[in-house]
Each structure stands twice: as structure tokens, then as C-alpha cells.
């Protein structure tokens, strides 16, 4: 299972993802600079969190024009697994790989804290190691996590994660993470790489990564 982590200018969670994959779940992984185009040998592409291009204009809006994104699109069309975390999720919606958009949090402030998440689907390659309806704790850290889509019915089967009990940012229908129709592109606002080790207070995120490994 080969992971590739895309590095945009001002990504800032790429090294955290790298550490979890290499040292916690012990799988091969490499960084891919956003100006590259080659995804050869990669089984799963990760778009990490951060502030690509400083979030200027709109988060994810500039990163989607990076040369690598064309390759990511082709890769996704061929059924390759794509995981977008936080800013990565924002880039995936900007690039049209996932439906909807992420707007400013309701309180207009950055929020960094643990939230409760309900696992809505376990038949995806990203969540197969969870139980359906399981409540897990994961941290969020974002300014723009307020998920919006005009017609929630159109994606009702694509919702994988929902905020449970407390909606921290105003996201419609409590949506915290969705997949595309095919189920091979997954975007989520919580940071699973920040809760994959006991020493950090929670291991609830690790199964996102081990699910991916098991799926192949």
C-alpha cells in the first residue's frame, strides 16, 4: 500500500500525516510536490490540512490549479483512493471532485478542539474498520468548515461522518465528511492524523488509515 502526500505551498499537516503512515501504521509513503504530475505507484493520495496559498482568495481556491491536481483527477477517475483532510477537503470541493462547498464557520472564528463524530457509513474504503453508528472523538481545526450544499437529498447516501450532539461550525445536516458517488474520494474536516496515537489522547482516527490499507 503506497501513500502519496501532496505538498502545496503552505500545507502544514503533511508531516503529521507522513508520521502516522510511516511510523504508526508502518506503510510506505512519499511526499509529492504540487508541481509534479507523476502519481505512478501510488495507491492512495492524501491532500493534507493547512493553509495552501495562505487561504488567500478562498481556502483551496488556488491550490486546485496546481499541476498535480490534473493527475489527481485522472487518478480518481480510474478509481484510485483520494483522502482530503481539512484544507484537503476544501481543495477537493473547489476542484469539483466532491460536491458542495465549505464556508466560514458560523461564529466567524477559527475553532480548534475535539468534537464527537458519528460514523454514518462503514462500506467505504476509508471507514470499514469502524462500526456503523459508532461515536468517535476527533479534533477539528479550521476557519472554514461550514459545509453547504443546495440539495442535501442529492448527497444523502454520500455522508460518511456527522457531527454528533454539537455542530461546531454550522455545517448543513451536521455533515463532517463525505465521499463521491463512486466512494473512492473522501473529504473530512476532522484531523484523523492528530488522534492516531494514545499519547495524543485519542486513537480514534487511526482506523481511517488502517481501513485504507485493508481495503486494497
Amino acid at each position: 500500500m503506497n501513500f502519496g502526500i501532496i505538498v502545496f505551498p503552505s500545507s502544514n499537516c503533511e508531516r503529521d500525516c507522513f508520521y502516522v503512515i510511516k511510523d504508526v501504521i508502518e506503510q510506505p509513503v512519499r511526499f509529492i510536490w504540487h508541481k509534479e504530475r507523476d502519481l505512478k505507484g501510488i495507491d492512495c493520495v492524501i491532500l493534507p490540512g493547512g493553509f495552501s496559498y495562505g487561504d488567500y482568495l478562498r481556502s483551496g481556491a488556488i491550490a486546485r490549479f496546481s499541476p498535480i491536481m490534473e493527475s489527481v483527477k485522472e487518478f480518481a477517475e480510474k478509481g484510485g483512493l483520494v483522502l482530503g483532510i481539512c484544507n484537503g477537503f476544501q481543495i477537493l470541493t473547489e476542484a469539483g471532485l466532491l460536491p458542495g462547498a465549505l464556508g466560514r464557520n458560523n461564529g466567524l472564528k477559527f475553532i480548534c478542539k475535539y468534537v464527537s463524530i458519528r460514523i454514518e457509513r462503514t462500506d467505504t474504503p476509508f471507514t470499514m474498520e469502524y462500526r456503523e453508528g459508532e461515536i468517535v472523538k476527533m479534533p477539528i481545526a479550521h476557519n472554514e468548515g461550514n459545509y453547504y450544499i443546495d440539495d442535501t437529498l442529492s448527497i444523502k447516501d454520500q455522508v460518511v461522518l456527522r457531527y454528533y450532539e454539537e455542530n461546531p461550525n454550522g455545517a448543513i445536516d451536521n455533515i463532517a465528511g463525505i465521499v463521491n458517488k463512486k466512494g473512492n474520494v473522501f473529504g473530512l474536516m476532522p484531523h484523523p492524523e492528530r488522534c492516531s496515537e494514545e499519547i495524543l489522547g485519542s486513537e480514534d482516527g487511526r482506523r481511517i488509515f488502517t481501513s485504507i490499507v485493508r481495503s486494497l
Partner: protein, 726 residues
């Protein structure tokens, strides 16, 4: 000859101008005078502080780099060193809170980067006026947003700090940012050596922002200050993040780098002249080679601009191109702007024509150092006496009132706006000192900032000792052995004899405690002139301290852990002098703070030993608000009630809300009672109760005076700041 008005504009006295003339042997031109003025500003030149700062102990077995470089460095093990520094950005934050605070973060991060280290944590020590003032709320909210906006984007977690709201900070808030970095490769320094080697400016382009920022920071704030908004720089965290990655990659991949330095206050002038001074050489700079973002900038403007996100490198001649490719990959400017020369001068050229030349010594060594004229304030004795300590009937009300005070309550409103988890090293946060792991190592790092302006205002010597002692105590309560200090000294106008007295006494007190506890001061910052027409800030020395937790099992936290655990106090609770209680009830800061330094020195190593032996399950330092507040916090964090039962001769209010130091609350399992009593033999150790139920119950001399549910306490504690910031 210059008029007094001309000199006032650059904050230089007539005497200083005469000195410049005699050192130079002629009249300086505008460019030369501009450069000298910024380097002779208090902010860059430490004119009123450098003699006093010599009191600090600065050496120790772990110290790799003490004061005098971009940041201090200590050794953690054979492979890893820790880099730390604190810096203030008070005046910019008073005028333009968002950018002032943001650029404060940016500057300190580059100081750490300049040593070759990756920045891994930020801490902020913040002081504002009281929240009933709308401008205070504007400043507070702006500063927090600025720190968040910048720190979150560059991916350096903000893991700690502290916060207080007191009237003297109304016009002049204090924003001190500490950064910690980890160094795994070569220790870099800010020096320029070797004739012909290149001076290279990397990062952002140069504009007119921050012209004379350093001189602006070296006078009191007035109504006119607002007109000096152009003196406040604007930050670009995206550029900073690129700079961090590019610089670290460059240091790792290339051995062509001789030295590097942040371009902070006084811009190219200070970085070039300081690098030359350290290297023992001179530098020649061609200003037209500096990438500019504005048209028609004069050489003076280019030389003293404080545009952010720039650094200066000294690189081996003809090795520039290998580095250029790397910086250009990150989309950064990479401009050869000059070279190292043998003459120990800074020579400025424009299109090849010499526009000015100043000996390096005039800019560095020859900065005047003034003797302070300290004089104890006459009202000192009066301040230290509290005639009528208000008596209270309802202790529950008093506890809830203190708990709801923004000075005692939870700061989650603030730290939820900071990304405190990025880098995935944050193991403990929000309860005293913060704890970070070091990936690949068994040990962890404890880090804290501490400060109590109230104590220093009432007794600067004792207050100075307390701030060092408390920081060390906070670290020990996490299981960390304190290793080093970085300081941030914030005072009013040092030319005022009473301010000078406060400054000298506080530094003496800090030095004394640092010496007795054997913790060296390895870097720091001084900020004077923190006053407006109406207020002078409390004398506010801040201590940033780091320590090492040898392994995870030694880590300790303040929250109560299990029912039936026995609760002890170590130390003698009491003394309302300088307490929040007095301030809340009589609206004034009065009394004499108290520290038993002899007990402190004896107690700290034993406490650390007891934690390492696994005897102690929780440890909490008693500080603001006293014993009652500290117990409430341990209960809230542990979500466990307590039953306290104490017999005392002290007035109840003094026992509950006094802030004497050192006092520590610890909990142990009943089986370990003998062991702890044995360990602390000869010290004031007292069993005060046990962990039980879901309420905080306090009985004094047999009478129950407090019984409040933990959920209720938590609600009140969390409301303190939030209720103002809707």
C-alpha cells in the same frame, strides 16, 4: 547641524547626536543618521537595560548558546538541542492589534529559524485593561485573532501562555510571544565572515512599512501614536511558512551557508551590522539590488524598512546558485545585495555610488549605555499595607465571584482559536505548564510562561523571585526538570527614577531566584516606555521556561484522578497581600506578596522526586485566587469532587484565597500516605481532605462553608471571558 525637532522625529537626543558626531568625526548624512538612530533606539540598543541585565546568571551545564545571539540554545541530548526566545510587540499591538500581534509571532519564529531550528511551539503572555472597556475588548479580540491568523497558518502550534486583565494595561496592552524550536542538525549563528562572501536577502520584498518601528517602540504612547500606524508592519503568514520550509531545507542541504539572521527591528541595517559585528568583518550593500515592492524608495528607507518575512544570509562566494534554485522553488526572492569586506564598516551604495558609510562599532558596540537613577517610590510603604481586609460572610459567593473573574477563569475562549495540535506533539495543554513530545525520543518537554505584575508592583524584588519560582514550580508539577529561562521585561519609561527602581529590583529578584534554583537565563527581551498619558503598566517581567520530562511515566497533571485519593498541601497557604481577592473586593491592588524562597529551593527537587517515584498522582501549583480556586480547578479538570477539612488559626478568607508561595496541592492513593510523609519530613505537609463525590466541599474548623457542585463550578469558570466576548 540638526534641529531638535528633526532629532525628535528619530527619537535621538541632542547629546546623543553630539556623540555620533564625535565618534564619526563629522556630521552624518541622512542615511547614516537614520541607520544610527534605529540602532541606538532603546528597542535595538538596550541603552537603559544592558548594565542591569548583566545580573542574570547565564551559564549552566546544558547551555550551548546564551544571550547575544538570535535565540538561546540548550542541549537535550547528543542529537537534539532546544532553541528558545521571547519577544514583545506591545506598541504595534496597541495601535493595530491584529497586525501588531501577528508580526510579533512572525518575528520570534524567524529568530528561532535563524539558529537552524524548526519552530515547534508558541506561547503568548498577554495583558490588557479590563473587559468592561469596549476598546479593551477590541484590542483583546484583535490580538487573539492576529496570533491565531498568523500562528495557525504557519503550522506552529500555540500551546500555552497566560492572560490577565488589569487597568494599568488599558492603553498599552502587553503582547509577549515565546517560541521554542528543535535543532537536529547544525547550530547556525548570525555571523558574516570571509571577504568576498555574499550577503543574500531572501523572502519578501521590501516596502515602506515599519519605517522607524524600532524608534516608535522606544517612546511612550500618545494620541499622536495612532498617526504612526505606518510604523506598524503588516504580516504575511503564507510567505513566512514558505520561508520556514525553504530555510530549513537550505540548511539541511547546503554547507555554503556561513550565517543567517532574521530581519526584524531596524531591518537590513541591524541584521547586516550585527552579522558583521559577530564575524569581525564589514559589509557593503548595493541598495538597488534589494527587491522592492514600492517605487522611489530612498536608500535610507530601504535600509531601515521593517518589512516582514525577510532574512539575511551570508553565503560562500560562488556557491549562490545552488541555493537560488531552492529558494525559487518555494517562490521566494533570492537577491545578492552585497558582500563581506575587510574594513569594519557598513558601506551603502546606490548604483555603485557610495551613499554612506558607518563603522560597525558605532552601530553596535558604541551604543550608549546609561546608568539608571533608581529611586524607591514614596508610596511603596503605603501600597504594601492593607488596612481593612474586607470580611465576608458567604464564602461560596466569594469563590464563585473569583472563579468568574477573567483573571482566574478558563481561557478556552482564547486557545480554541489557536491551532494547538498541529505538528502532533501536544500531549498536555490548558492546565499549567504544557507538555510536548519529541518524536523518536523517550523524553518530553515541559514549557510555560509566568508573570504576575501585581506582585511586582507591590514588591518588585519578591515579585521578580516569584515569577521565576512559579514557572519552575509549574514545570515540576508536570514532572519536568527546569532547564532554562527566556525573559520578557516590560516596564514604563526607564528615565523615570521610580520605574528604574522597579526594573532593577525586579531583575535582582529574578536573578536571585534563578541562581538559587540553578536555572540560567539564555535569551530575552526588554520593552520600555509602556505607558500612556493616563497609565503606566505594572512592572511586568515575564518568564518563559522549559524543562525536560525524562519519560512518559514521569508526566504528571493537576487534575484529580480517583475517588478516595488523599489530598495534601505542601507549603503554608495564606497571605492576602497582592491577591486577586483584595483586588476584586476593594478594587485596588494592595499588600505585600510573600514567597518563602528557602522552602522553595528545598521543596522543588523533592516534589520532582516524588512525582518520578510515582507517589504523587496529581500536582497543582496554588497561584491566582489561592487554595480555593486551585482546588476548584483540580476538581473541574478531573471531574471529581473533594471533601476538604482543615483546622486553622488563620482567618478563613486568608486560608482560602491567600496567594503565599510556594503552596502545592497533591493527591496520592491512601497506600502511599506513609511514603509521602516520609519524603516531605521537615516541610509543611498537611493532609487536607480526600477526593470524593461530585461537589467541592470545604469545612474549616469543623464548619462547612462551601458546598458547590462541580458542574456549577465549571459553568461559572468557563463564563469568565466568554460572557464579555459575545
Amino acid at each position: 547641524m540638526r534641529t531638535k525637532e528633526e532629532l525628535k522625529r528619530i527619537s535621538m537626543s541632542l547629546e546623543e547626536y553630539e556623540m555620533v558626531k564625535s565618534l564619526l568625526g563629522r556630521e552624518p548624512n541622512d542615511l547614516e543618521l537614520g541607520m544610527i538612530a534605529v540602532m541606538w533606539s532603546e528597542h535595538c540598543g538596550y541603552k537603559h537595560s544592558k548594565k542591569t541585565l548583566k545580573l542574570f546568571p547565564t551559564s549552566g551545564p546544558y547551555v550551548l548558546q546564551g544571550p547575544g545571539e538570535n535565540a538561546g540554545v540548550i542541549k537535550l541530548d547528543e542529537e537534539v538541542a532546544l532553541v528558545m526566545k521571547m519577544e514583545s510587540h506591545n506598541h504595534p499591538s496597541a495601535i493595530e492589534p491584529y497586525q501588531g500581534a501577528a508580526t510579533g509571532v512572525g518575528g520570534i519564529v524567524r529568530d528561532i529559524l535563524a539558529m537552524g531550528a524548526r519552530p515547534i511551539a508558541l506561547l503568548d503572555s498577554l495583558r490588557f485593561g479590563q473587559l468592561d472597556n469596549p476598546r479593551t475588548r477590541y484590542l483583546f479580540s484583535g490580538v487573539v485573532s492576529g496570533i491565531a491568523g498568523y500562528g495557525n497558518c504557519i503550522g506552529v502550534p500555540t500551546v500555552g501562555g497566560e492572560l490577565a486583565f488589569e487597568r494599568p494595561y488599558t492603553d498599552n496592552p502587553l503582547v509577549n510571544v515565546m517560541c521554542v524550536g528543535l535543532l537536529k542538525g547544525r547550530l547556525m549563528t548570525g555571523k558574516a565572515t570571509g571577504v568576498g562572501n555574499s550577503l543574500i536577502l531572501v523572502g519578501a520584498s521590501t516596502g515602506r512599512d515599519g519605517i522607524h518601528g524600532a524608534t516608535f517602540a522606544s517612546v511612550e504612547l500618545t494620541d499622536e501614536s495612532i498617526e504612526r500606524r505606518p510604523a506598524v508592519q503588516a504580516g504575511d503568514p503564507f510567505m513566512e511558512k514558505l520561508l520556514i520550509e525553504a530555510v530549513l531545507e537550505a540548511i539541511e542541504k547546503s554547507d555554503a551557508i556561513i550565517g543567517l539572521q532574521d530581519m526584524g527591528a531596524a531591518g537590513i541595517t541591524s541584521s547586516a551590522s550585527e552579522m558583521a559585528a559577530r564575524g569581525g568583518f564589514g559589509v557593503e550593500i548595493e541598495v538597488t539590488k534589494v527587491p522592492q515592492r514600492e517605487k522611489g524608495m530612498t536608500p535610507e528607507e530601504i535600509m531601515i524598512s521593517e518589512s516582514q518575512e525577510r532574512m539575511l544570509f551570508c553565503v560562500k562566494k560562488s556557491r549562490e546558485e545552488e541555493l537560488r534554485a531552492l529558494f525559487e522553488k518555494w517562490g521566494l526572492n533570492f537577491a545578492v545585495i552585497g558582500e563581506v569586506i575587510l574594513d569594519r564598516v557598513i558601506r551603502i551604495k546606490e548604483k555603485g555610488k557610495v551613499m554612506g558609510e558607518v563603522p560597525i562599532d558605532i552601530l553596535t558596540e558604541d551604543v550608549p549605555a546609561y546608568d539608571l537613577k533608581p529611586e524607591e517610590p514614596k508610596e511603596m510603604k503605603r501600597l504594601q499595607i492593607v488596612e481593612d481586609i474586607p470580611s465576608i460572610e458567604n464564602y461560596e459567593d466569594a469563590l464563585l465571584r473569583l472563579l468568574a473573574s477573567p483573571n482566574c477563569s478558563s481561557s478556552h475562549w482564547v486557545y480554541q482559536q489557536y491551532d494547538h495540535m498541529v505538528e502532533t506533539n501536544t500531549v498536555g495543554i490548558g492546565t499549567g505548564a504544557s507538555v510536548l513530545r519529541v518524536k523518536g525520543k523517550d523524553y518530553l518537554i515541559g514549557v510555560t510562561t509566568d508573570e504576575e505584575g501585581r506582585y511586582c508592583y507591590l514588591d518588585p524584588y519578591t515579585g521578580g523571585m516569584m515569577v521565576v519560582a512559579e514557572a519552575a514550580r509549574n514545570l515540576i508539577c508536570t514532572g519536568a526538570e527546569p532547564l532554562a529561562i527566556t525573559d520578557g521585561l516590560n516596564f514604563g519609561n526607564p528615565e523615570d527614577p521610580e520605574i528604574a527602581w522597579y526594573f532593577v529590583e525586579a531583575v535582582k529578584g529574578m536573578s536571585e531566584a534563578a541562581r538559587r534554583l540553578n536555572i540560567p537565563v539564555i535569551s530575552g527581551n526588554v520593552s520600555f516606555y509602556n505607558e500612556s498619558e493616563k497609565y503606566t503598566v505594572y512592572p511586568t517581567p515575564i518568564v518563559g521556561m522549559v524543562g525536560k520530562i525524562e519519560k512518559l511515566e514521569y508526566m504528571c497533571s493537576p487534575s484529580f484522578k480517583d475517588e478516595e485519593d488523599i489530598i495534601y498541601t505542601i507549603g503554608e497557604p495564606g497571605n492576602l497581600g497582592g491577591s486577586i481577592f483584595i483586588e476584586e473586593l476593594i478594587g485596588e491592588v494592595r499588600g505585600k506578596p510573600k514567597l518563602d524562597i528557602v522552602l522553595e529551593v528545598k521543596l522543588q527537587p523533592i516534589l520532582l522526586k516524588a512525582i518520578r517515584m510515582g507517589i504523587i498522582k496529581s500536582a497543582q501549583d496554588v497561584s491566582r485566587g489561592g487554595l480555593a480556586i486551585a482546588l476548584a480547578e483540580c476538581s473541574i479538570w478531573g471531574n471529581l469532587g473533594v471533601e476538604i477539612d482543615i483546622d486553622t488559626n488563620l482567618p478563613k478568607r486568608e486560608l482560602l484565597f491567600g496567594e503565599a508561595q510556594p503552596v502545592i496541592i497533591v493527591s496520592v492513593t491512601p497506600e502511599k500516605e506513609k511514603e509521602i510523609e516520609e519524603l516531605f519530613k521537615g516541610m509543611p505537609l498537611r493532609k487536607i481532605g480526600r477526593v470524593n463525590g461530585d461537589s467541592l466541599k470545604i469545612k474549616i474548623n469543623g464548619e462547612e462553608i462551601i458546598n458547590i457542585e462541580i458542574l456549577e463550578l465549571e459553568k461559572v469558570w468557563k463564563s469568565g471571558i466568554k460572557r464579555w466576548m459575545k
